[in-house]
Amino acid sequence: MSNNHHNENDHGGHPSFLAHHFSSPQQQYDAGKLGIWLFLVTEVLFFSGLFCAYAVYRFNHPEIFRYAHFFLDTTMGAINTVVLILSSLTIAWAVRAVQLNQRRLAVGMLVVTLLCAAAFMVIKYIEYTHKFHMGLTWGESFAPSAEALREVLGEAHGEVLEKPANLHLFFSIYFCMTGLHGIHVLAGIGVIIWMIVRTARGDFSSEYFGPVEYTALYWHIVDLVWIFLFPLLYLID
């Protein structure tokens, strides 16, 4: 890396995408890459608080988790897992396409990613409404309906379970974790739309594709968090 960026006069030679304080596209790309990785680290730590709360409560009250997980719809959760994994593939494909100057393919792949993200949110919405309807909400407001309790007995395959105390704690944790994850999906939708616009108007090329790659990295972490949430919440037992 040269230090010629002190000289104001060489800005004329800079490509338009290169910010004035960087000396080369490589330096700009590397800075962005390290920046986004650090951001992902903060994201992991941000979620870690919730994972830690999950671990503490599951260790102290395994019976709550065993009983409560019967209320969750494993099929819906599984579909959502597949949808997110698919979207991770398509966004990675989009990055590859941008690097190869295949603009149309890149836009297409980003659009598929966007559709997957939207599908995830729709399924999540159906799940949430169902939970609200059944009275399966957090903390103080938790009041499962008779129908919900009957369903659990059906799921438990004849095994008679005693309803544990403080069952609502599971749903507090469930809504905090999936809710925070949902907010991240919504943020991802916003960024992906922005990337579709920028890719379509030709901002990116094999010379400059950093922002698409950074978006993809963010999307992978959103996907990855879900991959942990699904077994921890839906597949207990």
Partner: protein
């Protein structure tokens, strides 16, 4: 040489409020944190005046609770945490490297506006009834106390956390990626090593505070029960979460201060810094060890004895890198040609106050002794010796050290030295008596006290008033210097780090000519020039 500098190169409010220049953002941060310092100081003064005599003086107990809570919250979240990294770090980091700006200038500006948003949330909670939970927001106080604006204060903490994260990310990437050719890791000034260690903590610890604040907001608003024992939750879990951030945060506060002191002591001793690598690596060691000791805040909260023993042992290990720094500073001064200019006076003040603050920490880290001292004035005195006696004193040292560079003006040196002395005396008068109060059993945060404690409380209050007057005088002569001060030379203290190789104030691009990348602590080539009022290189080429 350019005829304009970063202050004069463009005009109008937009050129400041939308600036991407790290120097202007640094100056805006400086103004902002100094205002918070003044506000937090007023709250502290109110607390001390109320405690001048037993019984009620001029505020009721609830107002008193709000005053010490706001004092703590404003000082910690709005002043100390952003103070040195965001104000001085922003200003000098790229210049010390010889770079043109930080890696992400827009993120830098965003971080400043997040700070502003956080400050607004704090003001909202101040006007909307105040908070009386203490700055630690312990549950169940924070989940059950009525008529207090805990939620907006927590929103403030959350937003300020992201401001801090963005600053930290920016600094790490800048140090990794923006070093020009020749600026190797071991040619970096020690302030940058300290800032780097700080940034690591900012990035790795602050998100946990974010999620804790968020959970507490949800707990208070929607009663989810995670922290509320009435709903089967665990209030001690909150303490673990809170201190997992807030203990490392103590090192966000002290590490940059140690970085400043390394610069002040080296420049003021006219000698190469002793043990450069040890000081550099001890910063990183402190950053790492800082993550492993949070449990020492919870010795009396019912955590298991085994955990307490481990946390106590780990706590003592932090003393090692801290002592490494102190001994290296002392060795730097040994046989140096010490110049007692204002920055050096603050450096010396730091070493003695940090010595007391650090050593009293050992009493608190000892399990059996902590049972007696826990939640007394002893702990209040201890952390004020570290937070104020060390960090705020180093901040003032940095302010006097870089002021000529930032604004191109010299302040009244004699008056500044007198003020430094009065800060030292006033500080000790305020907090030394509190060690005694604590060991005699005066609990912290109490509104009232028995008469036998009155004398010590009065000493403390007199010290606080003295500090208040001194800071008032300090800000007056600093502001006066902006208008009437002598123009500052390029290098008033004879330091060899890169920020002294550009004009005062620096040009917009930081350097007209790239600075040579040399040993930042080699002072042998610098001589004092009466005509310049500062130092210059010995050999003048082309003369």
């Amino acid at each position: 040489m350019s005829t304009t500098n970063y202050l004069t190169c463009s005009k109008g409010w937009k050129s400041w409020f939308l600036t991407l220049d790290h120097k202007r953002i640094g100056v805006m941060y400086l103004t902002a944190v100094l205002s918070s310092f003044a506000l937090g100081g007023l709250f502290a003064l109110a607390v001390r005046l109320e405690l001048f005599q037993p019984g009620q003086q001029f505020m009721d107990p609830t107002t008193y609770n709000r005053m010490f809570t706001l004092h703590g919250a404003v000082m910690v979240f709005l002043f100390i945490i952003p103070s040195i990294p965001a104000a001085f770090g922003n200003f000098v980091l790229p210049i010390m490297l010889g770079a043109q700006d930080v890696a992400f200038p827009r993120l830098n500006l965003a971080s400043f506006y997040l700070w502003m948003a956080g400050a607004v949330f704090f003001l909202v909670s101040l006007l909307g009834g105040g908070i009386e939970t203490g700055w630690t927001f312990y549950t169940p106080y924070s989940t059950t106390t009525a008529d207090s604006s805990v939620v907006s204060a927590l929103m403030g903490v959350f937003v300020l956390g992201f401001s801090s994260i963005f600053t930290g990310m920016n600094f790490i990437v800048t140090i990794h990626q923006m070093r020009p050719k020749g600026m190797t890791w071991f040619k970096m000034p020690l302030f940058l090593w300290a800032i780097y260690g700080t940034a690591l903590i900012q990035v790795l610890a602050t998100p946990v505070l974010g999620i804790t604040g968020l959970l507490l907001i949800v707990e208070r608003v929607a009663h989810i029960g995670v922290f509320d024992p009435a709903l089967g939750g665990d209030p001690v879990l909150f303490q673990h979460f809170f201190w997992f951030y807030s203990h490392p945060a103590v090192y966000i506060m002290i590490l940059p201060a140690m970085g400043i002191v390394s610069e002040l002591i080296a420049a003021g001793s006219r000698k190469e810094i002793f043990g450069y690598r040890f000081i550099a690596f001890s910063s990183i060691a402190i950053a790492i060890l800082g993550f492993l000791v949070w449990g020492h805040h919870m010795f009396t909260s019912g955590q298991s004895v085994a955990a307490s023993v481990v946390f106590s042992a780990l706590t003592f290990t932090v003393a090692i890198p801290s002592a490494i720094k102190v001994f290296n500073w002392l060795s730097t001064m040994y046989k140096g040609a010490i110049v007692l200019n204002t920055p050096m006076c603050y450096g010396l003040s730091f070493i003695s106050l940090f010595g007391i603050g650090g050593l009293t920490g050992l009493f608190l880290g000892t399990l059996s002794v902590d049972i007696h001292l826990h939640d007394t004035y002893f702990i209040v005195a201890h952390f004020h010796y570290v937070m104020m006696g060390s960090t705020a004193v180093a901040f003032m040292g940095g302010l006097h050290y870089w002021w000529p560079k930032m604004f191109g003006k010299m302040y009244n040196e004699a008056l500044a030295r007198v003020c430094c002395l009065f800060v030292f005396i006033g500080f000790n008068l305020t907090f030394l008596p509190q060690f005694v109060l604590g060991t005699r059993g005066m609990p912290r945060r109490y509104f009232d006290y028995p008469e036998r404690f009155q004398f010590l409380h009065q000493l403390s209050t007199i010290g606080a008033v003295m500090l208040f007057i001194t800071f008032f005088v300090m800000f007056s002569y600093l502001l006066h210097s902006l208008v009437r001060g002598k123009p500052a030379p390029m290098n008033p203290w004879g330091a060899n780090t890169n920020e002294w190789k550009c004009s005062s104030p620096p040009p917009f691009n930081n350097f007209d000519v790239p600075p040579p990348m040399e040993n930042p602590y080699d002072h042998t080539n610098l001589v004092f020039d009466e005509k310049l009022g500062g130092y210059r290189a010995k050999q003048v080429i082309n003369s």
